[in-house]
Symmetry: C2
Amino acid sequence: MGVLERLTELGSKVEAALEKYLLMDTDPEFREAVLYPVRTGGKRLRPALTLASALAAGGGVEEAIPAAVAVELAHNYSLIFDDIIDHSEVRRGHPTLWRKYGVTTAILVAVHYRESISQALNDTRDPKLFEAIMARTLKLLVEGERLDVLFEQAGRSDEPYVVERRRSVVTLRDYLDMVYKKTGALIEAACVLGALSAGAPPDLVEALSSYGRNLGLAFQVGDDIIDIFGREEKTGKKVGKDIEEHKLGNVVVLLALEELPADARGELLSILRKERLSGQDVERALKLISATGARQRAEEMRRFYAGAAREALKPLPDNEGKRLLLELTDFVAVREF
Amino acid sequence: MGVLERLTELGSKVEAALEKYLLMDTDPEFREAVLYPVRTGGKRLRPALTLASALAAGGGVEEAIPAAVAVELAHNYSLIFDDIIDHSEVRRGHPTLWRKYGVTTAILVAVHYRESISQALNDTRDPKLFEAIMARTLKLLVEGERLDVLFEQAGRSDEPYVVERRRSVVTLRDYLDMVYKKTGALIEAACVLGALSAGAPPDLVEALSSYGRNLGLAFQVGDDIIDIFGREEKTGKKVGKDIEEHKLGNVVVLLALEELPADARGELLSILRKERLSGQDVERALKLISATGARQRAEEMRRFYAGAAREALKPLPDNEGKRLLLELTDFVAVREF
């Protein structure tokens, strides 16, 4: 079995507990909507990371399950709101929660998710510490999402906050800061909470923290590459969605802008700043980007962070958990979907 | 000083801590939006209840401040979402958060509030227990809001969940269940967390729990009365807003429907079920309601719950905290704003 299959198998061990916490203090009439986000897919990659980290730190799967559930719920919690914020209508081949039931229900389900996180964390080895880590992580996610939206170059004319604070310049450093908060922090927390569930000593917790942080960056850079250069038959996703959404918060776009001569640079920016992009606009943007070395540099970047994640694992003892985490870095370094 | 002034003075003791927890892990650029909801007013009634309950249980104010902050944040957290859900544009004489900054920012601020709750609870006497109580309470709030929306008789045509499950019949029992969840549960939690902050024994915790539950019901019945019969010069609010919002979840409306003869009953229901109500419609509804004994029965009801709250305080020792809580029941029983 490949690493993805083994991680999926590991992640599937949270299913029962996931539904248990979601259904705590839940009216029967509300159940269908509450379960919809977790029943319409999701690879359970983050809880698998929690469980693999617990194994890697010398612990067992069972004791890490409440933390793994909390991490998967946090991921879904953020997706419910992201889909409302981005007006996204489809996720994992199904209508998004707000599209299916309405915005009111989606908001209520999301709030319910946050309390299920809390209820899961209450069953961990150290609720006070785990809750403190989760609170900090979710504040980082908020900040990452705020920045990602401010990095958009058009749209949201009904959002005074965004219109007034929009960034016309985004540096690579701004990008990395945003991406760590939006994606890296939760993957880091997934690994840290796994290590802590196993009662790991500080040096191993720190090793897994660094692993998660770097893996998260590699993962998001990969997502950015796939968004621009992916092939729809592999990804099931539309190519160039980030361009359509006016995003400067895609590293491939950023690196291309760095390289392009002034006139082409201006053209790419003006496409990103159009209120409504046509298919031709997106194609033209992709063509401008393809003429640069952005793809290659982005690929180097994700290999760099995947390598840093691999390196971070050195202090850990050799075992099945560590092997899984190592193989995952190889996969993340090259994945095309 | 009247009871309201003394409670406001007590509640004002949370201001500094409120901002401290809200500003934890917060980017400077985000501060203005984060502080907006708590800086545009609010009577701090709930945190005052937490502090008064701690005093009533023989404890001090200082040790109950983190819990009081958590309660006030929970109240604001729910209001941010309620205003989005109800498309409300004004609160406390200011634009609502979403109206001022946009829906994206309002959602991000709300998520940030929930994590500040968690950070405040981390500084309480028993974070694991306090967080468990908060999680259960917020799940109840979600359920109360869900029911309140399902009790509306029109609107939300873009919300399939609501349209399909809307209740055409709402009993007094349904109402009390909804109102306990929407309003009573958080006021109950405010009192319970105060008692627990003081290290109160189980019988006093139970007494303050019962006090909060009943006070919350009296409070919400009062809100319903004021919505229908209030005088704008006293309340600063428009009369009949619940009717405009198609609500069966107002006890005065429910009691009126019970009494009205079939044809008038049909007329009142058909007004509530109009997609858009004119000023004349609202006036006509108010006239139909005024012809019944609904007002008097609702007044009896709030006196009943205020009395039950007063009764619940019996086991508590006589002190300044208890005196405040007692006086509050008298105020809540008759307030006109």
